[in-house]
C-alpha cells in the first residue's frame, strides 16, 4: 500500500527540499520504490538538488492539465533506479494546479510507487495546501529557531484541519524533523533544545539532522546528501529517519562528524 508523504514547514529555507531529496534517496537506497514530487510551481528547485535539471521535459502542470502523460514527465534517477522525480513547472504559477488534477496525479502515483514524497512550497497558501491535501503522513521540517517553530505550529494546525484525512475525521500522522541542529550550542543554552521544541509542538520526533557542511557540498553537485556522502553525519541522520518512516524502532542520536586530525588541529575555516 503506497504512502503519500508531505514535507512541509511553513517557513522557507529550513530544509524542505534538501530533506525531500535525502529522505527520498535514503528510502530508495533500501530498495523502496520512491517518487519525489516538486509542488513549488514557479520556484522549482528539487530538480537542481537532485541533479536532474537538464533532463526536465514535461512537468507536474503538464500532467495535471492533461498535456503530457505521467510517464513522460517522470525522470528516473541515474544513480538509483528505484528513485524518480516529478518536477514542477518553472514558467507557470501555483494557480495552474487544480484540485481535481492533483488528485488524479497522486492517485496514479500511488499505483506505481511505494512512497510518494511531496515537496511543499513555503507559505500557507494554495500551493502548500495542495501539497498536503492528499498526504497520509506529514514531515514537519523545523529549525531550532523561534520563527521556524512558530510557523511549524501553524502548519501543524493546517495539517489537522485542511487535509483530506482531517476532513474525513481520520488521524493525520505527523513527524518532526529537526534540521540544522547544533548539539554543542544547544548544550550551552544558545539554541533551543530538542525537548523544548518537542514539548512546544507536541508531535513525535522523526530525526535530528545536524548542521553540516556536507549539505551544501551535496547540493553544489546535485546529489542528495545520502548519496553524495553516505557516511557523513547528516546522511546517517537521514538514513535513520527513513528507517523510522518505515516503522522501524531506531534510537534517536545526533550523529557526529568524523573529523580527521588536520581539521581537528586547524578547526573550521571561515572564509
Amino acid at each position: 500500500m503506497a504512502k503519500v508523504l508531505v514535507v512541509t514547514s511553513g517557513k522557507g529555507g529550513v530544509g524542505k527540499t534538501t530533506s525531500t531529496a535525502a529522505l527520498g534517496a535514503a528510502l530508495a537506497q533500501t530498495g523502496e520504490n520512491v517518487v519525489v514530487v516538486d509542488f513549488d510551481v514557479g520556484l522549482r528547485n528539487l530538480d537542481l538538488v537532485m541533479g536532474a535539471e537538464r533532463r526536465v521535459v514535461f512537468d507536474l502542470i503538464n500532467v495535471v492539465q492533461g498535456d503530457a502523460k505521467l510517464n513522460q514527465a517522470l525522470i528516473r534517477d541515474k544513480r538509483i533506479d528505484t528513485l524518480s522525480l516529478l518536477p514542477a513547472s518553472q514558467t507557470r504559477d501555483k494557480d495552474a494546479l487544480t484540485e481535481a488534477g492533483v488528485e488524479r496525479v497522486i492517485g496514479e502515483l500511488r499505483e506505481k510507487f511505494d512512497w510518494v514524497i511531496c515537496d511543499s512550497p513555503a507559505g500557507i497558501e494554495r500551493g502548500a495546501l495542495l501539497a498536503m491535501r492528499h498526504a497520509d503522513v506529514a514531515v514537519v521540517v523545523t529549525n531550532p529557531e523561534v520563527s521556524s517553530v512558530r510557523d511549524s505550529d501553524r502548519i501543524i494546525g493546517m495539517l489537522d484541519s485542511k487535509t483530506l484525512r482531517a476532513e474525513k475525521g481520520e488521524r493525520m500522522e505527523k513527524h518532526l524533523l529537526l534540521t540544522r541542529y547544533d548539539t554543542a550550542r544547544a548544550a550551552r543554552n544558545e539554541m533551543l533544545k530538542t525537548e523544548d521544541i518537542l514539548e512546544i509542538l507536541s508531535i513525535p520526533l522523526l530525526g535530528i539532522i545536524p548542521e553540516s557542511e556536507e549539505v551544501l557540498r551535496a547540493s553544489n553537485v546535485g546529489a542528495p546528501v545520502t548519496l553524495n556522502n553516505p557516511n557523513s553525519a547528516p546522511a546517517r541522520a537521514y538514513f535513520d529517519a527513513a528507517r523510522r518512516l518505515k516503522g522501524e524502532q531506531v534510537e534517536v542520536v545526533v550523529p557526529l562528524e568524523r573529523k580527521g586530525i588536520m581539521s581537528r588541529l586547524f578547526g573550521r575555516r571561515v572564509a
Binding site: R150, D153, A186, I200
Partner: protein
C-alpha cells in the same frame, strides 16, 4: 564572578526563546481556534435577528470569555431606537448574557 561567567550569562538565550514561544503560541492557538466559531456565531445570530428587526451589522458584538469552570458568551445587540419604540420595548440597546 570572572570574565567567563559574564560571557555565559549573555549566551544563555535559549530559555528566553522557549518562554517567548510558549506565551506566543498559547495566544495564537486560542485566537486561531476561536475565530472560526465566533465568526460563524456572529453571522448566524445576525441572520436570525435580521429576520425580525433591521440591525446594523456593526451593532452586533459577540465576545467569548473563557474561564476555568464556566465560559461566558456575551451577545450585545444594539437595536435602533425607532424600531424599539415601535415595538414598545423601551429605548437604547438590549443585551443578553448566557453562560456558554
Amino acid at each position: 564572578m570572572n570574565l567567563l561567567s559574564l560571557f555565559r550569562i549573555k549566551r544563555d538565550t535559549a530559555p528566553v526563546a522557549r518562554e517567548r514561544l510558549q506565551v506566543l503560541l498559547a495566544h495564537e492557538r486560542a485566537v486561531i481556534g476561536k475565530s472560526d466559531l465566533l465568526a460563524t456565531l456572529q453571522e448566524e445570530i445576525l441572520a436570525v435577528i435580521a429576520k425580525h428587526v433591521t440591525v446594523d451589522r456593526s451593532a452586533v458584538q459577540i465576545k467569548l470569555d473563557r474561564g476555568d469552570k464556566v465560559s461566558m458568551l456575551e451577545i450585545d445587540v444594539e437595536v435602533p431606537s425607532a424600531i424599539a419604540i415601535a415595538k414598545g420595548k423601551g429605548k437604547g440597546g438590549q443585551s443578553a448574557r448566557v453562560p456558554a
